[in-house]
Amino acid sequence: MSVLSLRGLRTNIGQYAVLHDVSIEVPEGGVFVLLGRNGAGKTTTLRSIMGLWAPSPGSVFFRGRDISGMHTADIARLGLAFVPENMGIFGGLTVAENMVLATRNGQFDKGRLGYVQTLFPALKKFWDARAGSLSGGQKQMLAVARAIIEPRELILVDEPTKGLAPAIVDAMADAFAEIGQSTTILLVEQNFQFARRLGRDMAVIEDGRIVHAGSMADFAADAELQGQLLGLSA
Amino acid sequence: MSMKPTYGSIGVKLVVLLIAAALLFAPFLFQDVRSIEVAARICIFIVLVASYDLLIGYTGIVSFAHTMFFGFGAYGAAILLKQMGPGWAPVVLGGLAGIALSLVIAVAIGLLSLRVKAIFFAMITLAAASVALVLASQLSHLTGGEDGITYSAPDLFKPATKLLVDAEGKVLKIAGVRMNGKIAAYYFVFLSSAVLFGLMLRLVGSPLGTVLKAIRENEARAEAIGYRVVAYRTFVFCISAVVASLAGTIYAVWLKYTGPETALSFDIMIDILLMVVIGGMGTMWGPVIGATLLVIAQYYLRDLMGAAAEAVSSVPLLPELLNPDRWLFWLGILFILLVYFFPKGIAGTAMEKGVRQ
């Protein structure tokens, strides 16, 4: 069974309809990539899943349960984590405080913390620094680390490579590949090279509608389709 | 969407027309002193509330300093009329001084607070208005302090002035109304209010009005399209301040008295808020309806409440709340309910009704 199903999701922001008809099935395990141009509705899709925008009733199912209309905090409690485009770091708090907030009861699981710190060694180094003083790449690591400090069922990640240096993008890709072993990830990307390294399944969103869905292997092999849907030159 | 006006909107405009006609013929329709007072107050408050609607209804920002600008205009004329004696020069000079002061302060407040956060604006205007009120009562050699200033209006408006005379040289009566200075004063108020209101109507119908609506609907988007939101808001704030100041000057000439109670007090600000919300924000017709209803209520509702308080005198607390002095209690509750359930007020709600196919 799919971890997450979107069935005909529509979302209005103010009086503007941003999503018209988004239907995807995110299977258990691995990385599912949602591709699309700027303004196609990728971020809105993630925010609708988290309940940060109001999705149309009966359109978002998590493990078969309708979560559209639930409060964001209650959705998160089901085991969803969200890494927003702006990373959502609390700049005035320390790295340690950012991390401890992401735990349910304020206690770290020692083993889990060790695992996360091995994945992102920089965080250990700056553990007591103000998060606002971190570099862009370090902030992104903190945002991802926060999402996995406790085991989650599904992680929603919005454009994690935006504005990052190539070396850090590589490190990020390795980290996601590792996390994807144990957790399902729904990744929104514009950076196709990054996405193809990670994705198993994928879909393309265009103007608030899903226009293509399939396996990443097939899509990566079809240069014509890429050109047509993403405007990439072959 | 149909572009035809709704029946509701036709109705609202008919009501406004009716009010305008009643005000135009008020001296002939209601031949007692109190009614003329009420009619003149309605004229001035329509202008004052409409100028406030420019700001709150068309830009969505809340100012608590509108009475302050009204007061600047009133005190400008009052102080000069007192110092220079009755005449047109002090009215014009005082009015201009009020406008100048209003402009300077509006620009300062606008640039200082609209740049940061719109919410600062509400707080800063409130603080500025209270400082103006305190200054007015403390600079008593100029403003007369708490007692205010009493002075004479230009000669034309003196009750003894004969506008028209009959064959015997007495004041001519038309339909039982004496054509004296009092009539001249009323029509001075009516006409200048009508002109100011007409100018504001033109303004919101102009391209500027369209831009303002775009900003109100979606600030971020308007900014993205390239409108300089802060500049527009400061500009509208200035316009509304100038009109309020002019309304103050007119009121000062009509009343021949200016004091904190009539021109500066926070009670007037509350009246303006009630009128614009009850009438309907962002329509320009709303202020006409709101001002008319509330001014009439101010003059006549208190009598009714006094009677009601008598009737329930045996019930605890209720007589206290029905005391005529407590009428703001009921208006406050009405105000809250309106903002909850009919945020568009009477005019805005009515104008959506009765869509024609």
Partner: protein, 332 residues
């Protein structure tokens, strides 16, 4: 680079936190007479602490939910009148030679104000504010409407004539040190404010609840996406803020000893100036703003009485031109 060195030194010594000290120094130079200066400074600090009580809730509430409550001063007024009524009812205890009875009367009066603030805050948040989250225009209008209604209720209950506030005997009088006299009540007000500030500071910086509040002030959505119901937390913060405002009002009533229903409206202006100066969303900023406003009001009230209220306005303008978001706003 002498100027640069100076700036560094100031930053190291506490930066904007030094401003109240700077105000005190300027006050000392302008006033000249040390005994008057001490009296005014104590009065200013006491007033600052009472205003801090009133303003801290408003600032936190705004920081956490972007809610600006124009009705906040109603809690101040109600706190003052509730405490005054309790003190009047217990006037036998107040005059009693037993300090214990004195303290009990005062504690009951303050507790009544606090309890009233908590209950009124709950009602206000649920009924008045909850329906208009995220809509600033209607928020301002509705809370202003609630303020009008509250003021009318106070007028109906307590009437418009001034009411005398009885103080407990042990807070009457002054400590005399040489030619300097310090009113005991002012010392008490200052100490109480300091205790509340310390409590708030500890809660915000050393507890998990405080961590959630600080994070929520910065980015409410993200805290919710981490699984916490900020809206429920907000009700608590709102109630606490209202209770502190009522406490501030109660203390202010004892300070004035003669109160009218206009008290809340007068303090609202001061409270707004304080939170704007301090920067919305941080209690450190609010404390800074409150102390500066308290000191400046008292100094100017002595040096040029007519300018007292305008001086706060000028102080606010000057600080806004220097720092458009206030002295120490919360990180957003």
């Amino acid at each position: 680079m002498k100027g640069f060195g100076m700036t560094r030194w100031i930053e190291k010594m506490g930066g904007v936190n030094l401003l109240p000290v700077a105000v005190m120094l300027v006050g000392f130079v302008l006033i000249g007479a040390p005994s008057s200066w001490v009296t005014l400074t104590v009065a200013g600090l006491a007033m600052g602490m009472m205003v801090f009580l009133m303003a801290s809730g408003l600032s936190l509430v705004f920081g956490l939910m972007d809610v600006l409550n124009f009705g906040h001063s109603a809690f101040v007024s109600f706190g003052a009148f509730v405490a005054a009524s309790v003190l009047a009812g217990l006037s036998g205890w107040l005059g009693a030679p037993s300090v214990l009875l004195n303290v009990a009367a005062l504690a009951l009066a303050l507790a009544a104000a606090l309890a009233f603030g908590l209950a009124a805050g709950l009602f206000f948040e649920r009924v008045i504010i909850k329906p208009v989250y995220k809509d600033h225009l209607r928020q301002i209008l509705i809370t202003m409407g609630a303020l009008i209604v509250s003021e009318q209720i106070i007028l109906a209950l307590w009437g418009g004539t001034p009411i005398t506030v009885h103080r407990p005997a042990f807070l009457e009088g002054a400590w005399i040190i040489g030619d300097i006299s310090i009113e005991i009540y002012r010392g008490f007000a200052f100490a109480l404010g300091l205790v509340v500030f310390a409590g708030l500071y500890f809660t915000l910086n050393r507890t998990r609840l405080g961590l959630l509040i600080r994070a929520g002030v910065e980015n409410r959505e993200m805290v919710e996406a981490l699984g916490f119901r900020i809206d429920r937390l907000f009700v608590g913060v709102f109630m606490l803020g209202s209770a502190l405002a009522a406490l501030g009002g109660a203390m202010w009533a004892g300070y004035l000893t003669l109160i009218t229903p206009a008290l809340g409206g007068e303090m609202m202006i001061v409270v707004f100036i304080v939170v704007i100066i301090g920067g919305l969303g941080s209690i450190e900023g609010t404390l800074l703003g409150a102390l500066m406003v308290g000191l400046v009001s008292n100094y100017v009230g002595f040096l040029a009485p007519k300018l007292a209220l305008a001086s706060n306005m000028i102080l606010m303008m000057a600080i806004l031109m220097w720092r458009p978001s206030g002295l120490r706003p919360a990180v957003k």
